[in-house]
Amino acid sequence: MGFANTLRLALRALARNKMRSLLTMLGIIIGVGAVIATVSIGSGAEYLIQQGIQSMGTNAVFISSGSSRPGGLRMGSWAVKTLTMDDMNAVLREVPLIKEAAPMVVRRSQVVYQNANWSTTIQGTTPNYFPIRTWAANSGATFGDQEVDSAANVAVLGSTVAQYLFAGEDPVGKTIRIGTLPFQVIGVLESKGQSVMGTDQDDVIFAPYTTVQRKIAGITWIQFINASAVSPEASVAAVAQVRSLLRERHRVRPGEDEDFTVRTQSDVADLASATQRLMTMLLGSVASVSLLVGGIGIMNIMLVSVTERTREIGLRMAVGATEASVKNQFLIEAVTLSMAGGLIGIVAGVAGSAAISSLLAWPTLISAKSILAAAAFAAGVGVFFGYYPALKAAQLDPIEALRYE
């Protein structure tokens, strides 16, 4: 008996029990729908992160002090004191693929204006940091080389800080206190909003790095270098060059761990994506457990169905059904159940993602891969969980089956 015939038989048998078929499919529908929805939401999150990171410039290269590689006891980034302005200047001078670089010295401090106060990060840098980040002042101006050279007490506020300290008042020209030192506010930056990691990028005060180094932190080194390569394609080569230069300057012997880390924008993006992907996979695998449960549901119903239709099976065998055709019939019924469930689940998952997308303003990405995987998994569940009942049906003795009450 041909496949088309068997399929027709299976469909007819399922149609005879519409309610039951639907309920049996429900497990698969929910499983497939949940997998597709979670994966699409996860992919959406990944997309958001990627977008955010791309917006920071695809040719960015980050150099931080300390090693952030796992294993052994490490002090963590920024804990070692070996990264200096000389390193940065050397990089600018000797690595032609690096176009620009700005240092970063970070301290957390309490900031006071009159009776308002706020705790925020003070970031010390050079004037070219702002164009690298494409970040401009909304009012006032950012500081120049002169303020850096003189380690002037000038501050450029992020919009959040301005909001908390000044509450609508124009901060430019006012004097605030950072720790114990008075600083003159010379500008307020335009709002950048939340970073992809969820932190408020506007909750920051920028000052010349020299000021932060000497007057606030009391250190001589820098913690971080924000560099940018001449092009996105050059960033990987730039990283290698920066690394070999810094190894040489820091006298890192071959095989020894570096006391710095160099990453490209895409490394950071990959890291963020990998984290997000792990999350997505975790959610997806939780959701796929329901696929498994759905499969068990199918097996259960198919076993019931075989018992219930024992006489039908006996009759079919009496009128010429071979063991193979009986087995195929039940197998195809199971696969049809799971595939139909899978298809409905795909529709439900896509619809669910669309609903989440529009309700929560969260981008969801439905990948063809996840749909294919869900469909294949559903079919696999059908075959796997349908095989045993089908075999049981095929192995019935027609004489016994016909006599079955």
Binding site: E308, R311, E312, R316, V319, I399, L402
Partner: protein, 305 residues
Amino acid sequence: MTENPLNPLKAPVAAEAARADSRPVKTPGALAGAAPGPASSVDKAVIRLEGLHKTYHLGETEVFALRGVSLEIFAGEFVAVMGSSGSGKSTLMNILGCLDKPTRGHYFLEDVEVSGYSKAQLAGLRNRKIGFVFQQFNLLSRTSALENVELPTVYAGLPVEEREKRARESLALVGLADRAEHHPSQLSGGQQQRVAIARALVNRPSIVLADEPTGNLDSRTSVEIMDIFQKLNTDHGITVVLVTHEQDIAQYAKRIMEFRDGRMRRDVAVTGRLFASEVLPTLPTLEEENKEDNVQASPNLGNRS
């Protein structure tokens, strides 16, 4: 019904032979040589058993269900197999129907030895050569009469149009052409059994095996079913083997085989054969039976409504 121009079945046996049916049939051994009329086609043994044994093992004990059965059934015959339970008649029917294999001995179906066939080969034989009619009808519920009748053609691999054509012809043969779209639950017990007979005929089998086909029916409907069997046998030359424990039902056959303890004890031509077409007018009709319902509870397959 008998005038049905769509008759799909093998060319009716010569009318002369049909008329000869009313005569007492000789014992099988004699029949081969002495059959009357244009006999060569009639004389072909559809079924021949030689020293057939069937032994079951129930735990430690052996049950000898058949102990050396030899018989021949010829085309155009109408045989009633009788016997009490445990006589071996069910085992015999299972073997004749290729549902079971003999332990020992030979089974020739249309001169082909089938006792060594594989399960799949036997399934093919059941499909093409044998039509089953059961006591319980065994129709698929929630499935139209037409689709029920089509079932064997599906396994025969016939094209869809051919299936429906044959099923309709088969239904017409049992007088149910106008009930093709009805579901079993909408049919009376007698009609359901007629659907089952149509199903048995649809693949144009060599032989129809009916296992207590009237066991679930009231007496008038039983006679109606016997009428159909007699007409199929007489008018279309269909070979019928009928298992029954009712003597009056057996009287509609041409030949009776009686089984006891796994052996055939008696093999005789029916004397005083009954003809359903003559008996029916003498029976009270449905209305006369004071609305007694002839639709009996019939356990259909998977019927849970």
